[in-house]
């Protein structure tokens, strides 16, 4: 498996290395912990709980995709990471606009969805999957 999101010729535990996905995994763990503690910008709103669940799912999907070498799971994880940040950013825009967390959320959402599109629209994606 090799796609546009992988570092060329780099292997980590014998698996392709996607730097953006690994960075997002770390961000997802932070979001899960902060939102379960209700200590983040989203406070005790149910959007905070939704963000925690989405971030946890995204983390599991990306790690499982990396470990099982599944392109589909990696894409699902990146998509969910984008969804998590769009939800967070929109909520912040509607409640405490203008706030730097909102801008960081939208920019990270663009990174995540950009990485998702790079994986999904890779011209060689099907060649390696079949």
């Amino acid at each position: 498996m090799m796609s546009q999101g992988d570092l060329f010729n780099v292997r980590f535990f014998g698996r392709p290395f996607k730097p953006v996905a690994f960075g997002l995994c770390l961000a997802m763990i932070v979001l899960v912990v902060v939102n379960l503690e209700n200590s983040g910008r989203l406070g005790s709103s149910w959007t905070g709980d939704a963000v925690a669940i989405l971030a946890g799912s995204s983390f599991i999907a990306m790690m499982a995709g990396w470990w099982t070498r599944s392109q589909l799971l990696a894409e699902v994880g990146l998509l969910l990471a984008g969804v998590t940040y769009v939800l967070r950013g929109t909520f912040l825009a509607l409640t405490i606009f203008p706030d730097q967390s909102m801008w960081f959320s939208f920019s990270t959402a663009m990174i995540a969805w950009g990485a998702f599109l790079l994986e999904r629209l890779d011209p060689h994606r099907l060649d390696s999957e079949k």
Binding site: W46, T47, G82, T90, F91, L117
Partner: protein, 56 residues
């Protein structure tokens, strides 16, 4: 805006944005791949025809 209303509206906006992205990715991706593969096979066929002409 109250937290409840903001949560509902942001969920709706996120759902719409996700649907648009997925529609783009799942429609545009296979089309692009199809275009590329047909271009590749055209080039391949062109090369073979040229070789055949040269042989004649």
């Amino acid at each position: 805006m109250t937290d409840q209303l903001a949560s509902a509206v942001s969920t709706l906006i996120t759902a719409i944005a996700t649907a648009v992205l997925m529609a783009a990715a799942y429609y545009w991706g296979p089309r692009e791949r199809q275009k590329r593969s047909s271009r590749r096979s055209d080039e391949h066929r062109g090369g073979r025809e040229r070789e055949a002409e040269e042989e004649d």
